[in-house]
Subunit: 400 residues, 2 copies
């Protein structure tokens, strides 16, 4: 008798039944932490929980897109300001782009959006702005200055991947959303600036793996195990300046997957100091086990070699730490290339000089991984604080 309702004269469609199930199961779904069904209207006919309408607030003390759990897709665009641009025009540009970002991230059409339907699915869209040295200078801020990064001996930088005046970092779990936001922002920016470079990156799709799983790079390595948690006081100390700003290093690191493939599994693990299976240090069993740099093998050699990546990256000085949030890239191979792959290395830190540079210097001096990796692009950006509704990103520089 409790099932009598299914025997109605018009047989419900499979979708209808499923959606009925969805409504009945909302309590359980809320318990699962699925935000899309609970925070937004569930679309009719849904047969699995949707996350397209999940939104990340744009306004706040800090810009979004840094402590945000990394989205599947990220595009980094460096713009060069047009030569004649003055401070006033720069302000207009930043107001315009901030307004676009505020709307698009909330699933609303940007002003003069000619394809508003493409923006209706934010899927955790964030737009984060970064300012290069020239922009900071043009804004006239005396309080803040930003220096290009020194060149390291391992660098084989290509000018076409270096520097830039204004960085747009656009990220979402949905690639069409990224494409639309990119288009809207570039349309509004083009009177003021031209594209210097575009780097497109990806991680695992949302829902492919458990949320919070450390990413793998295209060498198959678990990449980014040692990273300060965004929820700790440590993070505040390492990343955020008092005014809510931070500094970003972005480096394009080509990975030679062909020569890497010639190395056997134990050789690979030896060069990094971690296992490929789960990223545990070769002296441990679990990813987040502390590496034991003193442990020795039967021959009396340290298990984690002195030139291994994790040994060289580690400093005794705990202030020399950074927050990493990088992406893989895999662009079209050209000519006889089988791949054009690598890592878009991205780190955030209060001080490039005190935190990032000493670590990178150690790795440039000696790191077993250098044999297969080459930095080919490098840029540093000031990431200004977030803003409140009615404000715009960068406003504090104009006031300073």
């Amino acid at each position: 008798m409790p099932h009598a309702k299914t025997s109605t004269t018009s047989r419900p469609s499979r979708r209808g039944v499923l959606f009925g199930g969805a409504a009945a199961g909302l309590g359980a779904i809320a318990a699962l932490g699925i935000d899309s069904l609970t925070s937004t209207a569930a679309p009719a006919g849904a047969s699995e929980p949707l996350h397209g309408h999940t939104m990340i607030p744009f306004y706040g003390a800090h810009q979004a897109g840094i402590t945000t759990e990394p989205q599947t897709h990220a595009t980094y665009i460096a713009l060069n300001l047009r030569d004649a641009l003055d401070c006033e025009s720069l302000g207009r540009l930043l107001r315009l782009l901030s307004d676009d970002a505020a709307r698009l991230t909330q699933g609303q059409a940007a002003l003069a959006d000619t394809e508003p339907e493409l923006g209706a699915v934010p899927a955790r869209l964030t737009v984060t702005f970064g300012f290069g040295p020239k922009l900071v200078e043009l804004a006239g801020s005396s309080a803040t200055a930003i220096q290009p990064l020194q060149k390291f001996t391992i660098d084989q930088l290509e000018e076409s991947w270096n520097d830039g005046d204004l960085l747009l970092h656009i990220a979402s779990d949905d690639p069409l959303t990224v494409a639309h936001a990119q288009r809207m922002l570039l349309k509004d920016a083009r009177r003021y600036a031209s594209v210097k470079w575009v780097q497109t990156g990806f991680r695992r799709a949302r829902g492919s793996e458990t949320s919070g799983t450390t990413m793998r790079n295209l060498f198959g390595q678990i990449d980014g195990t040692v990273n300060p948690s965004t929820e700790t006081e440590d993070f505040n100390t390492l990343v955020w300046n008092a005014d809510g700003s931070t500094t970003m290093v972005i480096r394009r690191i080509r990975m030679d997957v062909d020569t890497w493939d010639e190395v056997d599994r134990s050789g690979r693990e030896f060069s990094v100091g971690r296992t490929l299976a789960n990223g545990a240090p070769t002296t441990g069993t679990k990813e987040h086990d502390e590496p034991d740099f003193e442990a020795t093998d039967a021959l009396g050699l340290t298990v984690i070699a002195a030139h291994s990546h994790i040994r060289r990256a580690r400093s005794e000085n705990t202030t020399e730490r950074i927050f990493r949030r990088g992406y893989n890239y895999d662009d079209l191979p050209s000519g006889s290339e089988v791949s054009n792959s690598g890592l878009i290395f991205v780190s955030y830190q209060k001080s490039v000089t005190k935190q990032y540079a000493p670590m990178q210097q150690r790795l440039a001096d000696l790191d077993a991984l250098n044999q297969w990796t080459t930095p080919i692009g490098s840029a540093v950006f000031l990431i200004p604080p977030g803003c409140a509704e009615g404000g715009f990103i960068g406003e504090t520089l104009f006031m300073a």
Copy 2:
């Protein structure tokens, strides 16, 4: 009292609580049609249902990746066979690649896979093979021949996007999975073939929208409303040959989003014959309403113009239909470009000559959309039947 359990001495983590909720709610989730939690083990700590382990069978009467509901990401790679390649080597290549595909699509490492962990999340990976004219000839089949497509007056084909001997069509909901499969297949193919072109496409992310939603292209149009359902007899008649094969047309269509942006909304809808809001014909209200080509407005003009895209695409001859399964592309703009965007048009049909060509000829003769679109690449491939375990894709050609 029912809540007393939360006051244990060791406070459960938020994740633990969520996962507890997940286990309790499995019944409701099964009712939602979520396959990942029911068909595979839920990973510990999961806070939302995962789909990374959903697999599409490789073996079967037809190749996968055609009736498969389109995955988020698709990469199409055209290879040119090396000049000296003989029929026997070609057989070896096809056996090798079929074996790779059979394993990778099931989340297993390919033979000699040096990054097996990257392949552990298939996320509906499919690998579909297509054969160009030269490959078919080399296999020595007398029963099958494949002709390059005629050139249409609207075409501005660039040799670098045309033709190819062997097509690898790799698709998954996860971009890292696509990158890994691409790398494995190209590694195994490189002794036999070189890359002619690579086209990378995307749709909305899995979970962004309700499954089965018609895609939007980068003009913001709902694209592909008129498409035979894969579950009907009609589909069999239009697409599958008796032996399980079909034919694929792939055309790279550049879309000039800048000039499109100059057209207002009603002008855009008039040029297509459908509304932008939901893709309904301008004589209807819902996407799948039949267009009324006779309906006239107050001035006595037909509401759907004679040169509109949907009027020109439609034939009175119902055999002149195709099955579309295209993707958006949005590559890096170069120089002063703001976008490098378009559509990877893909269609499947029994006969290119009888089904695709007459429709394309009508559109080449007259189609309002031609003002903003330009075909810049074109290729035709035979899609051989699927194979059984132990067999390989293309085996029937060698037997013929």
